[in-house]
Amino acid sequence: MIDVQQLSFRHRDDLPLLFEGFDLTVDRGSKVAVQGASGIGKTTLIYILAGLLPPSSGKILMRDFELTRKREREITAFRNRHVGVIFQEYNLLNQLTVEENLKLRLAIAGVKRSDDEMKQQLDRVGLADLFGRPVSSLSGGQQQRVALVRALVADPEIILADEPTGNLDDQSAAYIIDVLMQGTDSTVLIASHDARLLAVAERRLDFLSLCGQHETVVH
């Protein structure tokens, strides 16, 4: 489903490579976690795989879509149809309600969902009662759960998550881990150093070992 070969990245031409020789293969429907220390490039990896940043070199194949050979517009269209992204900072639109955040994602994706369907999705993370609440009034854990539902609401085939449980309380983290690991048929790739999440991932990969080597199954 996701095939990454010899990926490298540097922020600017005058800076050293952040990472290089990164190889990764993720099968369809599998739930994979990539672990590594802070600043190693996990967030950047998620951004690159989501097509939000261009890699310096390497090849990325997602389904049959070769991301590294496509133009930005095609990448955006691919992401819109097939990828859901969860960010460490939630990145919700704070001035909107929970419902409106979901509706905006659906409007952009061109997908229709009834209010009941959206509430069902929220119910999976224990937030059905907050449907009409402004996002700004929610706690960090609740916001991250809304961000998770937003990533899932248009039924993407691939979910990319960057530290989805970082700094969250156990209850919020449990909801998120449960949905990502058991509650979806999508292929899930998570960048995290949260032990709670790494403990339940189908495959746990070390970021450093993926650079310049074949992938190593840690767990």
């Binding site: 951004y47 989501a50 939000l52 940043l53 261009p54 930005e72 517009r73 955006t76 269209a77 992401r79 819109n80 149809r81 992204v85 960010f87 900072e89 990145n91 639109l93 704070n94 001035q95 909107l96 409106e100 509706k103 905006l104 994602r105 409007a107 952009i108 994706a109 061109g110 937003r150």
Partner: protein, 417 residues
Amino acid sequence: MKQWFIELDLLNRGSRRTFLFAHLGIFLLCFLFTVAYVLGSNVVSFVKKNLIGSLPQHELLVEVKKVEMAMFRMDAPDANKLTPESLETMKHLKGVTAVLPIKYATAPVAVEGSFLGQQFGSKMVLQGFDPRWLETEFELDKLTWQPGKEIPVVINSQILAIYNNGFAKAAGYPELSAAAIINQKFTIAVGDEQRGVSRMKARVVGLSTKVGLGVCIPNSALEALHEPFQGTAPVPVQAVLRVGQIADVDAVKAAVDELGFFVVEPPALVKAINRTASIGAAFGWFGAILLMVIAISYLNQTVKMLFYLKRGDYAMCRAMGMDRMRLRGLLISEMLLWVGIDVALASSFGIICVRIIHKTYIQETLLRLTGFAMEIQVPVERLAIFALALLVASAASLMPRIYFDTRRYVGAALKAR
């Protein structure tokens, strides 16, 4: 379309106050522009129609080109004749709205009558004119002659001045007011004993500074008087060319010169008024363009500010899957929609305000000061052109800004959120 509104509505949530103030600014500028333009254009029209229109600045007196040779004035080598054909040619010159021929009787003319109980009879010059020439001074009905009726006569007011300041003083006669002459009746006789005399009753209807120093009557009456004597109509010796726009005067003068005629220069006062009106109009246009530039600049700054406030949300939308073109389309169409609404509302409100100001203050004041009433005409077509120009200029000025602001790679924009 529904999706567009959803996206627009959701993206603008949270910055509505800023958004409202921004558009209030554009509304105010458009409102001021509308009030200034509608009021200004109406005042200019009023001045042209009633004040400048009453002066001969839009009228050029044309006659056959002459050269002086010793004691004679002769037709110039490149002179043209004032014929019905050449008058017709002048009528079609760009900027000319009317050609009013001035004719003179070529047969002997005498006037006979009585004044203050004294019989008089005198040889006179008889001038014919097109009644439209004097329409700013007389009602046209007064100058219209119908066969069998008295001929309306206009006398040059200088004749009365010559009598009062010269003849009356020298001979010890009483000086006369205009009332002594107006409504005086007499007979105009054209011809001589051998070839026959044509006589018609006439009555003075008023004085004017425009007409010649003789007995001045409508052309139709002159032709009727002339016809029994010679069997042909008198030919025009001068023509008044009426020019619609001050700006066309120079071009018309050049064209008339090329046709082989001479233009009698308008008085210096008229030239000065024309120049002042042109300068005023130029300032008006400059002001209008300045207001438009300010509006566009304001709009540009507003978009810049809104974009700054919403840059994170736009980046997030792109991260979710909204492509650049869609975001750009959304932003530009939103801005144009709002500018369109601002302009439409501001123009309507401006027109209503102008009508209220006119009714409350201007109408009565102008009537009292000038004696003329001013009606408000809304230049709808021109306002529509200005609105369109503002929309086009806004789009043209916004496109580069929106283009560059959305050019950044979405990951970088998102990290800067």
